[in-house]
Structures are given as structure tokens and as C-alpha cells.
């Protein structure tokens, strides 16, 4: 790749160059863990749905819920309205369940953990202390964690392999576990909230997810509790031809606060893999949820071969008065991204925010945005979307701002900017604005432009090569969104921005 070959000019910080070089030209997480897996047979049918439910040891009500979704899904058509172009997905040519064999019996100590699984997390750069817990070792919770604490739920293909800091969180009253554990241990909460934001009839992919989701994370923050640490889920697709269908449910009870991070990677393969997740957030009175995503699924190679098809339904229900939800996403991976994290601003005075960076390079396609549905009085929303398109990529912002008649004095501000790098890519904006009462104020701005020549010239004059200069300008372009990310993610995201654009200049 260009950076590795670039001669280092004088005046450029040696460390910067090394860091960038160390990241490697290509997708960093493209390796595969060779590990023995248990698969369910390929394809999806009622039997598979029952099997997944059985493997997770679910009660009957859950099995019925899945079957109801599956019945509905069979009647639905794949949506075609997005600006994504791809060959039809064969939903019967996927594995819907895969689990590492070694997870059948829970290992007692680090020595017993399948070294391959262990190496996976090491390679993904998850701190050792956490890693012990991640790999399912009992007793590691007692070991002090260094620095800032982040509790992690790691999902490897179809199953959650471990959740860290559960004990410390439990002391605060916070429930953070895999959704399969939650179905078993907290059925009342799951029954009450699962599907209450994204119903099983919602859309093609969400309905499929409702039928076949294998695992995911569950968070419940009790009234008045400020979650003592960041919660995080790390998704890894490893097995070939395996769809990942995770389900996340976060409930912030009255007056609580939680910040949740989500990261994802997958090996490089020349076939497309399916990922269809559903995330439901419920914010009750005065509660606040901050949900950040760095999506770095394998994007396919520079010729557009392979990559993840990412069809995700994310929605937050600001049910209580003065509740607040903030979505921040950095979308750099996936061959296809179909994702619209939304807020239903039901409670009076509730707030929704959406900050997004979507970067597409090579043959990646992204159709992403948000929906802000204002139902309550004095509701506020803010949308800042930055789309960057390079190579042969297509990047679309699609959004809805809807002011219902009862949303008195509601406010929305939307800004979506697109940046084009090179003459073969596209950047598109498709906003929908619906205003049904006059006290609501809606402002929408969008711009599309290329990287400013003057800015590039300025940087180059100071000794940066063109690629570094572009990365710097792009980072500046994304600044408003990067600032909205929690610190750990902001650093990672900034580097990702540079890597994602490699090879796009010249």
C-alpha cells in the first residue's frame, strides 16, 4: 500500500509514520482463527429456529416468540428502496448457528482455555485482564484491572463467550450479561422490553433477527444508578458462511446513565457474509443512554470481492420525560451498510442525538442515517452526519425528521456533509422532513464537496505526503463527530479514518 512505500520526508514525525505503517496497508483484522466449531445445518426453517432456541436453553415463550417472527418473515419481501446494489442474498445458504466446541465445557483456568480462542482476543487487542475473563475463566474478576474500566461482552460468531466485571456491576445493581443469560435469569425484564422498540413485524431483517438471533448483550441499569464503567460488546464473526444475528437490549431505568460501546471485526474472505443485528434501547424518565459504535467489519478487498453485508436495525425509545439517547457511529467497514439508528422521542422534553461518520472506499456501499420521530412536547434532536466516499464507493445519507402535531416546540437541527475523494465515487443525500405543527422548528443543511485544494496544498507545503494530508483534512472534516465519541473509541476511530482511506489518493 501507498503509505508503506512512501519515502519519509523530512519534518514528518518518525513516530507518526511508524504508527501508520504498523497498521499495515490493508484490513488489520482480516485473519481467521482456526477453531473447531459446532454448526447447525445450513439454511433457515422452523427446525433451525427451534434448534437455536433449544441450544440456548430457552423457555417456551421465547421459542414461540421466535416462531411467530419466523412465520411473519416468510411473508415478507426484501426491501429494495436503498441505493445499495448487490446480488440477491441466498438466505438458505448461510449457517445460522456456530459455536466454538471448546465452549461446551467452561474452562477453569487460563491454561485450560483453548489457546486459539485466547490468541484471537490477544490479537484483537483486548487487555489481558479482561481477556482472562473474556475467555470464560472463573476467578479473574478479582484481579485488579489497569486504568479505566470497561466491561466487555464478547460475542464470537453466534455465542457470547464471556462478560467481564459482572460482579462489580452487580454491586451497583447493573445487569450486564448475554441476552441468553438474561432470558434465563431475568425473564420478566426481557418479556417486558424485548420487541417493544423493534417489534417482530418491523422489517425484513429485524424480523429475521427476531427468529434466529443466537446471542447478544443485555443491559439493565436500575433507577438512579450511574453505571460505574463503560459497557462494551465486541463482535467477532469468524466462521465461514455464517450469518451473525445478535440482539442487544439496553434498558435505562428512571434517572440512570449508561455508556455503551460496540466494536466489530471479521476475517477477510472472498464470499459475502451476512450480519443482521437488532439493537433496542429503552430510556425511561430522566435516563440517558450513550451508544457508540465503531463498525469495522471486513469491507471486502480493493476489487469489491467479499465483505460483510451489514443490515442493522437500531432504535431507541425515549419513553420517559427528559430522557436522552445519543447515537454515535463510525462506519468504516462492511461491503454493504444498511443502518438507520433512530430515536422515538415520546417523552416530553426528551432528546435524541445522532453523530455519524461513514467512510466508504474501494467498492463499499453505505446507505445509512437516522430517524428522529418527535412525538412529545419540547423534544429536541440533532443530527450530524459526515459521509466520505473514495475509490468506487457509494455513500448515502438517508434520514427522517418527523414532527407530529403534538410535538409542540420541538426542535431539530440536521447537518449532513459529504466529501468526495476521486472521480469514481458517489455521495448522496436523501432526507425526509415532515412537519405537522408550527411551533416545531426544523433546520436541515447538506453540502457535498471535494477535499479542498487549498487545505491540501497547505499540508503538502509543510512536508506531508498527499495521503497524510488527505487523512488530516478528513479528520478535520469529521471532528464534530469524533468529539462525540468516548475517548478510547475516538483514538481508534481517528486511526481508522486514515486507514480506511488508504490507497484512495493518486
Amino acid at each position: 500500500m501507498a503509505i508503506a512505500e512512501t519515502e519519509v520526508r523530512e519534518g514528518v514525525d518518525r513516530e507518526t509514520v511508524e504508527t501508520v505503517q504498523a497498521m499495515g496497508g490493508k484490513y488489520k483484522y482480516g485473519w481467521e482463527t482456526e477453531i473447531e466449531m459446532d454448526y447447525a445445518p445450513k439454511g433457515v426453517n422452523e427446525g433451525i429456529v427451534r434448534l437455536i432456541s433449544e441450544k440456548n436453553g430457552e423457555p417456551e415463550w421465547m421459542t414461540d416468540w421466535r416462531l411467530q417472527a419466523f412465520k411473519r418473515w416468510k411473508l415478507m419481501d426484501e426491501p429494495e428502496w436503498s441505493m445499495l446494489h448487490y446480488p440477491k442474498v441466498d438466505f438458505q445458504d448461510q449457517y445460522y448457528y456456530a459455536k466454538p466446541k471448546s465452549m461446551a465445557v467452561k474452562p477453569k483456568s487460563l491454561d485450560e482455555v483453548d489457546p486459539k480462542l485466547l490468541a484471537t482476543y490477544e490479537k484483537l487487542g483486548i487487555p489481558l485482564k479482561e481477556q482472562m475473563i473474556l475467555a470464560g475463566v472463573e476467578g479473574a474478576e478479582a484481579a485488579p484491572a489497569e486504568g479505566r474500566k470497561v466491561a466487555v461482552d464478547a460475542v464470537f460468531d453466534s455465542v457470547s463467550v464471556g462478560t467481564t466485571f459482572q460482579k462489580e456491576l452487580a454491586e451497583a445493581g447493573v445487569i450486564f450479561c448475554s441476552i441468553s443469560d438474561a432470558i434465563r435469569d431475568h425473564p420478566d425484564l426481557v418479556k417486558k422490553y424485548l420487541g417493544s422498540v423493534v417489534p417482530i413485524t418491523d422489517n425484513f431483517y429485524a424480523t429475521l433477527n427476531s427468529a434466529v438471533f443466537s446471542d447478544g448483550s443485555f443491559v439493565y441499569v436500575p433507577p438512579g444508578v450511574r453505571c460505574p464503567m463503560e459497557l462494551s460488546t465486541y463482535f467477532r464473526i469468524n466462521a465461514e458462511n455464517t450469518g451473525q444475528f445478535e440482539r442487544t437490549l439496553i434498558i435505562a431505568d428512571k434517572g440512570s446513565y449508561v455508556s455503551y460501546l460496540e466494536g466489530c471485526t471479521a476475517p477477510s474472505r472472498d464470499t459475502n457474509q451476512l450480519h443482521a443485528a437488532v439493537v433496542e434501547l429503552v430510556a425511561l424518565e430522566d435516563a440517558e443512554i450513550k451508544y457508540s459504535t465503531v463498525q469495522n467489519w471486513y469491507p471486502g478487498d480493493e476489487n469489491g470481492v467479499g465483505g460483510i453485508y451489514n443490515f442493522v436495525t437500531k432504535r431507541a425509545d425515549c419513553r420517559g420525560d427528559r430522557s436522552k439517547v445519543m447515537w454515535t457511529q463510525v462506519e468504516t467497514g462492511s461491503a454493504l451498510t444498511w443502518k438507520y439508528p433512530s430515536c422515538i422521542l415520546r417523552g416530553d422534553g426528551s432528546q435524541g442525538e445522532f453523530y455519524s461518520i461513514a467512510i466508504t472506499n474501494n467498492y463499499q456501499q453505505a446507505d445509512t442515517g437516522t430517524k428522529m420521530v418527535h412525538l412529545g412536547k419540547n423534544t429536541k434532536s440533532r443530527i450530524v452526519s459526515k459521509g466520505i466516499s473514495a475509490g468506487h464507493a457509494q455513500n448515502t445519507y438517508r434520514g427522517l425528521v418527523s414532527m407530529h402535531p403534538k410535538a409542540k416546540d420541538a426542535r431539530n437541527y440536521t447537518q449532513c456533509d459529504s466529501l468526495l475523494i476521486g472521480g469514481d465515487c458517489g455521495a448522496h443525500t436523501v432526507p425526509y422532513i415532515e412537519v405537522k405543527n408550527n411551533s416545531a422548528r426544523v433546520e436541515h443543511e447538506a453540502t457535498t464537496s471535494k477535499v479542498d485544494d487549498d487545505q491540501l496544498f497547505y499540508c503538502r507545503q509543510r512536508g506531508m505526503d498527499e495521503e497524510e494530508a488527505v487523512a488530516l483534512v478528513v479528520n478535520g472534516f469529521c471532528k464534530e463527530v469524533l468529539q462525540a465519541l468516548p475517548m478510547e473509541f475516538a483514538m481508534e476511530a481517528q486511526q481508522l479514518v486514515a486507514i480506511s482511506l488508504e490507497g484512495s489518493v493518486g
Binding site: T429, P431, V435, R441, V442, A446
Partner: protein, 432 residues
């Protein structure tokens, strides 16, 4: 997704209510082609069509138009202060007696039926051509229907710079009239013309105007849509712009239970400009008001500038809609695209829906759009009232100020003054 079986029936019912006009072989062929196009696209649009998300096309599809009362007014006719060549249509039929002599230096004007009766005529290479181009990427069924069934219209070929504007006046006299007009305008290289349009036309009005603006030519268009409360209109302007040409169009709409104005503009020559503007005022008190501006600008040449400015003022349940799109093709470098859609909601029942789209495949471009919706600025109102301006007048002033940006798009001062007078009169009638 299309459901051909469900949509075909309204089309067949609609077609049964009209006869396809006679003409030379080429004209009949062009009309038959339009019909095949229409059938191929799945017939007339339904409520579930994405392009009709905000506007219900049902009454435009019906075989017979809903009855629409003729609106009596003692005001002088629009543009009456201006020296112009008048061409009058009554309920969609050309009225020779009420019209001026069609002879004017620098321009050839003929009735569509006369042109289509001749075997050899320039209209042969123009009729339905731009409409066909405008059918991709989005189908415009009512335009194809118009090409197939148009009963009347004019063909205008501009070769020089005519001394006065051409004024197409559409009178509405029958409560059940269903008018389908199709005009062709061809502005030859270096030529310049101003077309004025006014009047409600009929109970239901379908109009297509295909405008070919050649290199270095200029086309001006000012339209005042008729005031009849119950009228319905679906109009289409299809324009193709040559190098260094200019296309400027302004539309003012007041009243009307349903208006859908589509403008489809395509840049094919470099360094051309297109300014498209509209002002719509709706008060749902007298009758429902629904106004939809749908604009599609395609940049397929370099160094072109497009500008869209649309303003709407609505109250008492009136509904405003804006769907605008700028499509910049891969080689349309150095495009400057601008789009502004704003609505002023004067009370709680009014609504505005917008879908301002950008689709861009060239990298050296400056494209932006803005859309705002809100109520009258309380502070501005307070400022005026604290200086002794009564509330009604202050509101009117702020409405005028809001619309000014669109009205300023009219270059000709006397025409601008005429529009402003009418605007003021409308505001006076709709106080409180």
C-alpha cells in the same frame, strides 16, 4: 414495489374517457409510444408510490375530474399592464377570437393540432422527446398520459428575440372540464423568449411543456397558477439546456385543492444555468390546499449552475410539499448546485413535508441544500409591533420578507411588481 394488476385498471378507465386526437402518422406514433411507455411503467401512480409519498394522486387518476367551481374575481387579469402576445385556452381548448394574432417577429407560433397534422414539421423531432428522457430514473406517468392524450397546445419556435412576451392564459368556465395541454418550445441558438402563463385552466388540468434551449439561448418563464379553490393541476416542465444557455422559471401559486408542479431540467451543454423558483401561499379556510413542487435537475455537463428556491406559506390545514433532487453525473465537474426549500407555518394545523435529495457522482462539485420549517419569528413580530405596526400588517410584512428570496428570482422589474401586487392582494384577503 409495483403491483401492475392493481394499477392498470385506473389507467384503462381513464383512457376510456378520452379519445386520442387525430394527426399525421408521426404524431399518432408518438402518442402510441407514450401509451406503451405508460403501460410499461405500470400505469398511473398509486398512493404507495414513493414519488407520491406526500401527495395523493387519486383524484388525478379518476376517469372524470371532481367538480370544481369557477372562481369569480373583479381583479384585473394578471400581466394586463404588460405588452404581450395573448394566447387563450378555455377549459383546455384554444380560443382564436380571444387570442391575439399569432404572428410575431422572431418567433413562429402554431397550434399543436396544426403542427401534428403536417407530415413534415420540426415538432416531429420534439413531441414527447424530452418527456421520454424525463421518465428515467423516476417514472412520471401523468406526463406520459398527457403526451398520449393532449387535446391542444401550442408549438413555439424562437429564432430571434421577439419584442414581447408570449402569454398563455388558461380560462376555466366549465365546472367539470378536464383539460390536457401539451406545448413545445424550441429556442434556437442565441435566441431569447419570455413565456408567461396564468389561469386555473379547468376543473382538472394536465399540462406538459417541453422546452429545448439551444446553445447561447435564453428562456424565461413566469407562471401564476389560477386561483380557483377547487381546481386540480398536474403540470410538467421538461427542459434540456445547451451550452451557455439560460433557463429561468418562477411560479406563484395561491389556492387550489391540489397542485403538483414537476420540473425536470437536464444540462447537456457546458456553462449553462438554470434557476427554478416558486412561491406558494395556501389558506385552508376556504377550501383545502395542497401544493407539491417536485424538481429534478440533472447535471450532465461541466461548469453548470443550478439554483432552486422554493418558499411556502401555509395555514388552516394547508399542506406544502417539496421534493427536489440534484443529480450530478460522473463527468459534470465544477457543478454548482444549490437548493433551498423553506416553509412558514402560520398556525398549528398547517404542514410541510420535504425530501431534498442530492445524488452526486462527480468529485469537483459544490452542492448544497437547505430546508427549514417553522413559525413566524416571534422576536421579529414583537419588534414590528413595538414600533406601532398592527399584528396583521406585521405578519404580512414578515410573510413578504420570507417570500422575497423566491420572488427576487424574477429578473424583469415590471413582472416582479405585478406578482408583488397580487401577493399583497392575497394577503389582504386572507387576514387573520
Amino acid at each position: 414495489m409495483a403491483h401492475p394488476a392493481q394499477k392498470q385498471d385506473p389507467l384503462e378507465a381513464r383512457l376510456a374517457a378520452h379519445a386520442m386526437p387525430e394527426g399525421a402518422a408521426w404524431a399518432r406514433e408518438a402518442r402510441e409510444d407514450a401509451l406503451s411507455r405508460l403501460r410499461a411503467m405500470g400505469g398511473l401512480p398509486g398512493k404507495r408510490d414513493e414519488y407520491w409519498k406526500f401527495t395523493d394522486p387519486t383524484t388525478l387518476n379518476l376517469p372524470e375530474p371532481p367538480r370544481a367551481q369557477c372562481f369569480a374575481t373583479d381583479e384585473s387579469a394578471p400581466f394586463s399592464e404588460i405588452d404581450r402576445l395573448r394566447i387563450v385556452f378555455v377549459d383546455g381548448v384554444f380560443d382564436a377570437e380571444a387570442s391575439d394574432d399569432l404572428a410575431l417577429e422572431g418567433v413562429e407560433i402554431e397550434r399543436l393540432s396544426d403542427a401534428q397534422a403536417r407530415d413534415i414539421h420540426w415538432a416531429r423531432d420534439a413531441y414527447g422527446v424530452l418527456e421520454t428522457r424525463g421518465q428515467t430514473p423516476v417514472a412520471r406517468a401523468h406526463a406520459a398520459l398527457n403526451t398520449a392524450l393532449a387535446q391542444d397546445g401550442v408549438v413555439i419556435r424562437v429564432t430571434g428575440r421577439p419584442s414581447k412576451p408570449i402569454n398563455l392564459t388558461y380560462l376555466h368556465k366549465s365546472e367539470v372540464s378536464d383539460a390536457i395541454l401539451h406545448h413545445l418550445v424550441k429556442v434556437e441558438p442565441g435566441a431569447e423568449v419570455t413565456i408567461l402563463e396564468n389561469g386555473p385552466a379547468a376543473a382538472r388540468f394536465s399540462k406538459v411543456m417541453e422546452v429545448e434551449v439551444a446553445d447561447d439561448a435564453r428562456f424565461h418563464h413566469i407562471r401564476l397558477q389560477g386561483r380557483d379553490h377547487e381546481r386540480r393541476a398536474a403540470t410538467h416542465m421538461f427542459a434540456r439546456l445547451g451550452a451557455r444557455s439560460s433557463y429561468k422559471s418562477f411560479t406563484m401559486t395561491v389556492n387550489g385543492v391540489l397542485t403538483r408542479n414537476e420540473q425536470v431540467v437536464e444540462f447537456t451543454g457546458n456553462e449553462a444555468i438554470a434557476h427554478i423558483a416558486g412561491a406558494a401561499l395556501g389558506d385552508g379556510k376556504d377550501a383545502p390546499f395542497h401544493h407539491d413542487d417536485t424538481v429534478f435537475v440533472t447535471h450532465d455537463a461541466t461548469d453548470c449552475e443550478s439554483r432552486q428556491v422554493f418558499k411556502k406559506v401555509v395555514r388552516n390545514g394547508a399542506e406544502g410539499v417539496f421534493q427536489g433532487k440534484i443529480l450530478v453525473k460522473k463527468d459534470a465537474q465544477r457543478t454548482d448546485g444549490y437548493q433551498l426549500s423553506q416553509a412558514l407555518l402560520l398556525d398549528d394545523n398547517a404542514s410541510f413535508q420535504a425530501k431534498p435529495e442530492l445524488e452526486i457522482y462527480a468529485d469537483d462539485v459544490q452542492c448544497s441544500h437547505g430546508s427549514t420549517t417553522g413559525a413566524i419569528d416571534e422576536e421579529a413580530l414583537f419588534y414590528l409591533r413595538s414600533r406601532g405596526v398592527p399584528e396583521d400588517e406585521a405578519t404580512d410584512l414578515l410573510v413578504l420578507a420570507f417570500l422575497a428570496e423566491a420572488i427576487d428570482e424574477i429578473e424583469d422589474e415590471s413582472l416582479r411588481a405585478d406578482i408583488l401586487t397580487r401577493l399583497q392582494a392575497w394577503l389582504d384577503r386572507h387576514r387573520g
